[in-house]
Amino acid sequence: MNPPLPDGIATIDYTTVIPAGAHWSLRLRRGTVLRLCDLHGDANVGMLLYNPECLLERYNAPDTLKAQHTFRIGRDHCLYSDMGRIFASVIQDDAGWHDTVCGNARAGDVEAAFGNRDYQRDRNAWRQNGHDAFLVELAKYGMGTADLAANLNWFSRVQPDAEGALALAPRTAVPATPPSVTLRLEMDTLVILHTCPHPLAPAGVYPRGAVEIAIGRAEPLAADDPCRDHCPENRRGFDNNALYHLSAGEPPAFAICSSEYASTATATPS
């Protein structure tokens, strides 16, 4: 029997497994959930997000970090676009810390760390790099290098020391329960992802852990949603989403224009 679904997930309607060194994309509607599961404890999932209605609107790591005063991404955080809206909320997270400042490895980086990418020798086990993986998926939507942005690296914990020096936390033994992270889509979103190694992954054997991807329906937004209530900034981000959906003729799930808006609307501009 399957374990009970985590809070916030109404159904899981589809699951698949993506091998390491691969890439994939899918347009996900508002109200869906996307769950990633690091099956063998050594995966890295690179991810970029775009608005399918206007691909110029895209995931913005700086706006995401500064809105929530965080360097790490984890549970209750929201993933912001560069237009002040929220693509997705992190409603479940076993890992607790995901990177969004290190970008991707390129072909030369992967060759130096793990050996070259060679289809002739390796076929489906070729050593793909995150940079090229993104470019392949982006090209399918008419995008290219100019459309790359600082991406998410799910399951990779990159910790700063007091001087700002960064280190990727080592991956230990295969966890008894594979860690997962679940996103709830707050607006229609084109999700581009790859399963290539993190750019700071230690040299050695190319990580081969596969990633399970599950897609389903989210529970309706509760009045006291922990992502929306995580900080006043996220409440305003949700307000911006509500306005976006209102302008498309969709009734908002909650009253837009919080009391904060009413109280500041008459304030003298500083």
């Binding site: 809105a67 700071l200 500041t264």
Partner: protein
């Protein structure tokens, strides 16, 4: 790392004052040195760099951070491009630390960070939009307006994963100097942000100098 410079301002071949709220673009050739001066202290100079030969190649915060495995920029840092090539080296810095995680303000992010009714207040990304609209010769589009450097801005990260905006560690007259490794266009927005205590709610001018 605090490293001063012996370059003499009167010997610079360009010397411009950029008022707060103004965008500014300048070409810096390989081997030339660009200095940005925080004239009154605690200002943020939001800066993007593009390869002058191919503006699809531009400054990449993530490649820069990864290459040096450190989030802060200072003397000794090399700014990397989206093609993984060195663009400029920071050769002098009297401030000690510059941010490249916090990005530039926009009217949209102002609504999130400050209040929904701040949406019509000034922002760096609007300054850049005006610059690229008025200067088609730059060949830049919205897609090229991305993840920048905030010279003179102090955005400390903590070992437990926090990120804060602190009062600037900059002060009047502090400067940063960069030596170009390729021909570049620097696109600066001298930040007009009126909601951030970091600049004392009072954006001030910067000076830009270039030596051959």
């Amino acid at each position: 790392m605090i490293i001063g410079s012996n370059r003499i301002p009167d010997e610079a071949h360009r010397r411009d004052t950029v008022r707060a709220g103004d965008p500014y673009a300048i070409r810096v050739r390989a081997g030339e040195v660009l200095r940005i001066v925080d004239l009154h202290g605690n200002q943020a100079a939001d800066t993007l760099f593009y390869s002058a030969g191919n503006n699809r190649e531009r400054y990449s915060a993530v490649d820069t951070v990864r290459a040096q495995a450190n989030v802060y920029l200072t003397a000794g840092s090399t700014l990397m491009s989206t093609a993984g090539r060195p663009m400029l080296d920071i050769v002098a810095d009297t401030c000690g630390r510059h941010d490249t995680l916090g990005g530039a303000c926009s009217t949209e992010s102002n609504t999130v960070r400050y209040a929904l009714d701040k949406r019509c207040m000034h922002a760096c990304r609007d300054s850049w939009m005006l610059a690229i609209a008025n200067h088609p010769e730059l060949g830049l589009t919205r897609r090229d307006i991305t993840h920048n450097i905030n010279f003179f801005m102090n955005v400390p990260v903590t070992p437990d994963g926090g990120l804060t905006f602190e009062d600037g560690i900059s002060a009047p007259g502090k400067y940063v100097e960069l030596s170009a490794r390729m021909d570049v266009i620097a696109l600066i927005s001298n930040c007009p942000q009126l909601n951030n205590p970091c600049n004392g709610y009072d954006p001030t001018p910067i000076e830009v100098l270039v030596w051959a």
